[in-house]
Amino acid sequence: MNNTILSITIALIFGIGTFLILRRDIIKIIIGLSLISHAVNMLIVSTGVFDGEKAPIIAEGYHGSGSGIIFTDKLSEGILAPIVPPGTETPFVDPLVQALVLTAIVISLATTAFILILAYRIHEEYGTTDVKKLRRLRG
């Protein structure tokens, strides 16, 4: 159920972003690009959620008991949290996709900053933010 709602949300954001990119106003285009990049980031995060499978981090010499997951470090026993005993099935997330999303967010921050400055300069040069009026280049 949650996955369905997440997918629909991503699709909606993507659709709104695409709609905004097709507008005539430069600022709307930039907002549309940001929305699409957020939709893509959510898509990447959603690929890293697993439920009811074996967690990837498994302790070799497991000492704990109870719920199966240790959330506190026990350095004297050589345990670094979170560690899962072999055979435990628990929901977990793939940490790699979060690293990917972090990279993608930083990149989209840089591009958005650049493109906003570009939009400001275009407004200074052309006196308009309407892309239909940006037609000085032609063959």
Binding site: V40, L43, L96, F114, I122
Partner: protein, 512 residues
């Protein structure tokens, strides 16, 4: 410590460090210029050493952080290191050229720094073995090239508002392309659980052999065609190129047209022939179709241009179609031919763009109808433009002839008769538009250029002429003595079609 093992990371790290250093050195322009030239030359030297090492002792794998296949790896195989040699050679010459061509204020503050970032992005793209890392280097390439397109040149033929408009188109379209690449990479990771290209190749082959390949792998492959097609400006995605390449300053046009659009071709060669080799039967006809339409559209549009750089940009669109035609045929000979074509086009087109910069300085206009009779007042530029035009058109003693010859030969051997016919017809178009441009600019009634700026009186400086002459010599040498390039390309093509050594080299190392 053996320095040769660390060459791949040095080729990426040194330009990034230099780009930070260049910002700090902005108040000492002479030292900045000298240092940047020395570093670019040493990068060229290191890339040649890397290519020789890969040629002699096989694929070199550098594990960044020593995480094995789970971390980022740099892989220098023949294709990657060969492309690095090409890009560093052209970037060194473009850098020397830009010292006199770019306006002083722009040159001292941001130009050197962004140029180093561009070199780092190119080297990283060609050397990386990790598909997400390739996305990151694509973004570095995109942002640094946007900054370079808006750099202003001496004389100010192109207005700043034109540059803004072109950069806006370039940035928006390439950002959408980046988003598509991110979607493709994420879907690939969600399906296969790895981002390492060699590992992906092994897993997809295993699934394909077992007959359980998920159907959406084909769609991911098509998404990558959009990504790399957008970079390389093939048919439905070519329309940003004729705006961006002419408005950039000439050395940057040379970099964009010579090396940047080849990044798309490199991506297709690397990703399709390594990762998606089991989906290639579906992709090859699509690539051939798009390549033929690209050839036709670029050539037809180039005929009607009056702006010299816009003509060269449309010619780039047409010529990249020939490269993709060879890739689409997919036999070893055709791949080798397309690599020969790629190298020849890169050198000839960057030389033509550099020459056009000299012509623009001389005539103070980009409109060919306002030029004429310049063969007497600018003899060097006219002869160099003629060499470049003949190479692009495929005249016998020059590199372009060898490239077209092997490409059409490969197509005939592969029995692709209709593509050969179309390619041949538009090769005739190429001769027509290149020589039309040459005749318009250099023959006919002489116009008076004395009233234009200092450049037409004292003539081009050595910093402008030497890179053009070196590139012209390279075009001539590649035409007369082309065996080394052809044998290197054949070896690369064999490696592409048989990626097992690549996979062994990447996955052979143990995780430490």
């Amino acid at each position: 410590m053996n320095i040769q093992e660390h060459l791949p990371i040095l080729l990426v790290a040194i330009p990034i460090l230099m780009s930070a250093l260049m910002i700090m050195l902005r108040s000492r322009p002479t030292f900045q210029k000298t240092l940047n030239i020395i570093v670019s030359a040493s990068i060229l030297l290191m890339s040649i050493i890397l290519l020789l090492q890969v040629w002699n002792s096989g694929i070199l794998v550098y594990e960044v952080g020593e995480w094995g296949k789970y971390g980022i790896i740099l892989v220098a195989d023949l294709l990657g290191s060969g492309m690095v040699v090409l890009s560093s050679g052209i970037s060194l010459l473009a850098l020397i050229y830009s010292l006199d061509y770019i306006e002083g204020k722009s040159l001292n503050t941001t130009y050197h720094s962004l140029f180093n970032l561009l070199v780092a992005g190119l080297n990283g793209t060609f050397l990386t073995g990790d598909i997400f890392n390739m996305f990151v280097f694509f973004e570095i390439l995109l942002l640094s090239s946007c900054g370079l397109v808006v750099a202003s040149e001496n004389g100010g033929v192109t207005t700043i508002s034109d540059k803004m408009e072109a950069t806006f188109k370039y940035l928006i379209l390439n950002m959408i392309g980046s988003m598509v690449m991110l979607i493709a990479v994420a879907s690939l990771y969600a399906t296969m659980g790895t981002l390492n290209m060699a590992d992906l190749s092994v897993k997809i082959s295993a699934l394909s052999d077992a007959g359980t390949m998920p159907w959406h792998i084909y769609f991911i492959a098509l998404l990558f065609l959009i990504v790399f097609g957008n970079k390389a400006a093939i048919f439905p995605l070519h329309y940003w190129l004729p705006d961006v390449h002419p408005t950039a300053p000439s050395p940057i046009s040379a970099m964009l047209s010579g090396v940047m659009i080849k990044v798309g071709a490199y991506g297709i060669l690397r990703v399709y022939f390594l990762v998606f080799k089991d989906a290639l039967f579906l992709l090859k006809p699509i690539i051939i179709l798009l390549a033929l339409i690209t050839i036709a559209i670029g050539a037809i549009a180039a005929v009607g241009q009056k702006d010299v750089k816009r003509l060269l940009a449309y010619s780039s669109v047409s010529q990249i179609g020939y490269v993709f035609l060879g890739i689409g045929m997919g036999t070893a000979y055709a791949l080798a031919a397309s690599l020969v074509y790629l190298v020849n086009h890169a050198i000839a087109k960057s030389m033509l763009f550099l020459t056009s910069g000299g012509i623009i300085h001389h005539a103070k206009t980009r409109d060919m109808h306002h030029m004429g009779g310049m063969v007497k007042s600018a003899p060097l530029m006219s002869s160099m433009f003629l060499i470049g035009a003949m190479s692009i058109a495929g005249m016998p003693p020059l590199g372009g002839f060898i490239a077209k010859f092997v490409l059409f030969d490969a197509a005939m051997l592969g029995e692709y008769y209709l593509p050969v016919l179309i390619g041949f017809a538009f090769a005739v178009f190429t001769i027509f538009y290149m020589f039309r441009a040459w005749l318009l600019m250099f023959w006919g009634e002489a116009r008076d250029f004395e009233k234009y700026g200092p450049y037409s009186s004292h003539g081009p400086s050595p910093m402008i002429t030497v890179p053009i002459i070196i590139l012209a010599a390279a075009v001539l040498i590649l035409g007369v003595y082309s065996e080394p390039l052809i044998s290197l390309s054949s070896e690369i093509a064999n490696q592409l079609l048989n990626p097992q050594p690549y996979i062994n080299a990447v996955l052979g190392g143990s995780v430490r």
